[in-house]
Amino acid sequence: MKPTSYTLDTTFAALADPTRRAILARLASGEASVAELAEPFDMSQPAISKHLKVLERAGLISRGREAQRRPRRLEPRPLADATDWIERYRKIWEGNYKRLDAVLQELKARQKKAVDALLDEVKPKSRKRKPQ
């Protein structure tokens, strides 16, 4: 796999967890230590550390230099890369709807054919008058 797609994959995998998303939301308002991050969650510090490792590997957070606290902070780049989702979403639906256009054109053609056939059927009959 190419390094770029690998990174994006890792980013999305890291985001696919509610705790990790909550951690990111917390870090969006400023850096925080592991203890500070663990506080709002009903989780042990080791459990939080595990989540932090995943986020770190995905490049979504980094560690500060301060030796004691080692605060985590948000790294905005990978998130920005991931947030062009709306454009991708749009592309998917444009693809779907172009195919739907073709299906509808075919349905219209089919309907026209059916109507024409019906008219053909009706015409000669209407000419034939019921014998009095």
């Binding site: 190419k2 770029t4 797609s5 994006l8 994959d9 980013t11 999305f12 995998a13 985001l15 696919a16 509610p18 998303r21 991931a82 947030t83 989702w85 709306i86 991708r88 979403y89 749009r90 592309k91 998917i92 639906w93 444009e94 693809g95 779907n96 709807y97 195919r99 739907l100 256009d101 073709a102 299906v103 509808l104 054109q105 349905l107 219209k108 309907q111």
Partner: protein, 162 residues
Amino acid sequence: MTKTAALRVTTPTDRDVVITREFDASRGMVFDAHTKPDLVQRWLLGPPGWTMPVCEIDLRVGGKYRYVWQNADGRTMGVGGTFTEIARPSRIVITQLFDEDWTGGETIVITEFVETKGKTRLTTTIRYVSREVRDAALKTGMAKGMEAGYERLDDLLKEETR
């Protein structure tokens, strides 16, 4: 063929994603294209390379539907739910839950068909349980269900721009 209004994707409220597009056909036809399996299978496919081998639709209130997509590598993605409202040809409301629940729970999908002068404006509203869930679904959904297709598309675009 006459020009139809372009696709729009908006997030007008915290919980909704709204997709609108105009089609050059009556709303009865657009409705059928959304509810007849043999028609749905031809267009509701997602990224390039995916097909829909399973498409089951029990079109009545309380009836179930099930779609399964498959890509060239044999990877599958399934979704299903229940029809909660059917008003042919103007409106369909369904519940929707993906097998791999990367969308963060069941969503409600409202599809509306409005016809003007032979053209149909289609509005699809996907309603998530919360804003967080919606945003996460839109982001992570890309990874879980569709990344293969996107990567191929990305590579292609990169080649094009080179």
